[in-house]
């Protein structure tokens, strides 16, 4: 079954991911790709707290993820891969061309960003990076929860 969802979400592991997507997908593992979290036991404990014991959590750097992606894709269980920002998603898609889609699940307000959707705020530079990912053949859509419409990248960047 492999990785059923590739998601950009600046909250990383949280309710929408674990319950909102995890339940309908029957998710058995979550891969959190973040160089900073990968280096912090404290951060890892914190993110693991939000995940029920039957779901495995794997913490990976971008380099780890590029190397292990084929194995995760070949896993018989269903998994979710999470990154916290567009740069990480872009780095990952650049070195792993088997990634065919990326979900924008939540990028929140910060200085310099403007509202694109209720749950997506982007700088012009970030919007351009998403369009570049799409131009390289990755299907980029914004969708916070499964019941919402998947908004194509052209409609919010």
């Amino acid at each position: 079954m492999s990785l059923a969802l590739y998601r950009i979400d600046d909250r990383l592991i949280h309710g929408q991911v674990v319950v909102g997507w995890g339940q309908p997908l029957d998710c058995s593992f979550i891969v959190l790709v973040d160089d900073e979290v990968r280096q912090s036991d404290w951060e890892q404990d914190l993110y693991r707290m939000g995940v029920p014991p039957h779901i495995e959590v794997i913490f990976a750097s971008v380099d780890d993820a590029a190397e292990k992606l084929p194995a995760w894709e070949a896993d018989s269980r269903v998994g979710i891969l999470l990154v916290g920002d567009i740069d990480t998603a872009a780095a990952l898609t650049a070195c792993a061309n088997q990634i065919k889609r990326f979900n924008v699940g939540g990028i929140h307000h910060r200085a310099g960003r403007t509202e694109r959707l209720r749950f997506v705020y982007l700088t012009d530079d970030e919007a351009a990076k998403l369009r570049q990912m799409a131009a390289r053949g990755v299907e980029v859509t914004a969708q916070d929860v499964p019941s919402a419409r998947a908004v194509p990248v052209g409609e919010f960047t």
């Binding site: 909250r11 309710g15 939000g50 995940v51």
Partner: protein, 131 residues
């Protein structure tokens, strides 16, 4: 942020999804008549930075107990980070009305003690009623 810590009592900050925190504050006030002991914080529309700022404004000058709705997710991660960076802050997850009703009457203790007491009071309220 106005609160009732001038006498040295703890402040309770409820950190939740949507309007859960706001509703819990209203319910405690309706039941006890106590105002100012609890402050609501919602994660609605917040990224990590924005939620940290809401927390900072709500807590003001500690001490405080942060009552978080779930034992994971953005409310917890922001609260735990905040507590790690500030003295006199304790974090409790799984907030319920029973623990808050107990808390507002027992605020003259260190945050860690209040947190343990809240866990006890909140847990006792969770039960199956006799058929």
């Amino acid at each position: 942020m106005s609160d009732s810590r001038q006498n040295g009592s703890l402040l309770g900050v409820i950190v939740s999804h949507a309007a859960v925190a706001q509703a819990l504050v209203a319910a405690v006030s309706a039941i006890t008549g106590i105002e100012g002991a609890l402050v609501p914080v919602s994660n609605e529309g917040c990224g990590t930075d924005a939620l940290a700022e809401r927390l900072r404004q709500a807590v003001g000058q500690g001490p405080a107990v942060l009552f978080v709705d779930l034992p994971g997710g953005s409310c917890l991660t922001s609260s735990a980070r905040y507590a790690k960076q500030h003295a006199d802050i304790a974090v409790v997850t799984g907030v319920n009305l029973a623990m808050l009703l107990d808390f507002v009457f027992h605020r003259d203790v260190p945050p860690a003690d209040a947190a343990r007491r809240a866990v006890d009071a909140g847990g006792k309220a969770i039960r199956v009623t006799p058929a």
